[in-house]
Amino acid sequence: MKALLIVCALAGTARADDEPDDPPTHDRLLGMRIAGGLMPYDDRELFHMSLGVVAEYRVYHLLRLTAEYEYLLFSQYEDTTRVADGTGHRASVVARHALARSRLLDGKVRFWLDGELGGGFLLARESMAGTIAKPQAIAGIRLGYDFVKFREDTRASKVWEPDFQFRVYATPHQELGFLFGVETSWGD
């Protein structure tokens, strides 16, 4: 049902870059992300979960720049037995731009689809590999919606923005990993 609503909203969407009468609703975002994915390393598949903090700033119209920090937990399983584990940190900077967005429905809700490009650096310690330090290129898409503030006489955040995201991470060694996450942000 939710997917159907999103599709309907996007079908009634205008292009993402030419709506002077429907300006962006917020300039800054602060939020959190919980994510999981796979990261190849030395012919091994490391599963990871991450907890992240994201801060975002709108640099031009619908172009936003995001700074992120993630704490990661790694594990590798053979059958059901964990054979390796570790923890790590990743800092990233990502540019994000709207690909499609709906109009502001009823003045309260807007659905959107964004694309992302960026880079990050991973520093981790893992039981089999020891220290892992590597840069990563990032490409991804995000699908979400904005709730725009329900009342004018408030100094609380203007926007609440939950979204799903899918990212691909590439390393200089042609290793490709992916991450699926759920992010919730507050916009001002």
Partner: protein
């Protein structure tokens, strides 16, 4: 007496109109605690009951908490279970709030905490450790009149760090720890529950 009542009413009105809504002056919470990470160099998971008492002022809240958990420790081939007791304290910053009119809000929190845990393993004795960490919380709050009547639900995802030493590892692994690295164990802790 009438003027005192009038002042109290006005003070209450002002508080009710504050935006964003402040933290409750006093709140009690009950919830589930889940942990996953390392204990004495071994993989460790736990789930249990967490109780919290909190004192708020503006966008800040101090809290004390206590939990009792059932835990599992070690790889599947050599796993043991046990119980854990944990006491902790911390501070919580109400960083952002999105208000649903005057009915409630979606809230973002940041937390810092410290605690002490005692683990009793079924067949390997007991050990204890302190922990320190930070977390992010997401809450849904329902407004009822003044802020101290608010109720809500919150999930906090936390990263914790805890020291370990060879004595703990000898207890946990019965002398042979295959995956021990470094002298700090870390992991994730999640607290999910309601408060009023």
């Amino acid at each position: 007496m009438r003027s005192v009542l009038a002042v109290c009413l006005l003070a209450g009105t002002a508080a009710a109109d504050e935006s964003p809504r402040p933290m409750q002056p006093v709140s009690l919470g009950i919830g589930m605690l889940g942990t996953g990470g390392k204990l004495a160099g071994l993989e460790h998971t736990g789930i249990g009951l967490n109780l919290e008492g909190a004192f708020g002022h503006g966008n800040w809240q101090g809290f004390v908490e206590g939990s009792v958990s059932s835990i599992k420790l070690g790889p599947e081939t050599d796993r043991t279970s046990g119980r854990a007791l944990r006491a902790g304290l911390g501070a919580r910053w109400h960083a952002r709030s999105f208000e649903l009119g005057d009915r409630g809000s979606f809230d973002l929190y940041f937390e810092a905490f410290s605690g002490w845990s005692r683990y009793r393993l079924d067949d390997r004795g007991a050990l204890s450790r302190p922990d320190v960490g930070a977390g992010i919380g997401y809450g849904i709050r329902t407004f009822f009149g003044r802020s101290y009547r608010d109720r809500g639900m919150r999930i906090s995802a936390r990263i914790y760090f805890a020291p370990t030493d060879q004595r703990d590892e000898r207890i946990a692994c019965r002398g042979d720890c295959p995956m021990t690295k470094g002298n700090t164990n870390s992991g994730l802790m999640a607290v999910f529950g309601g408060y009023l």
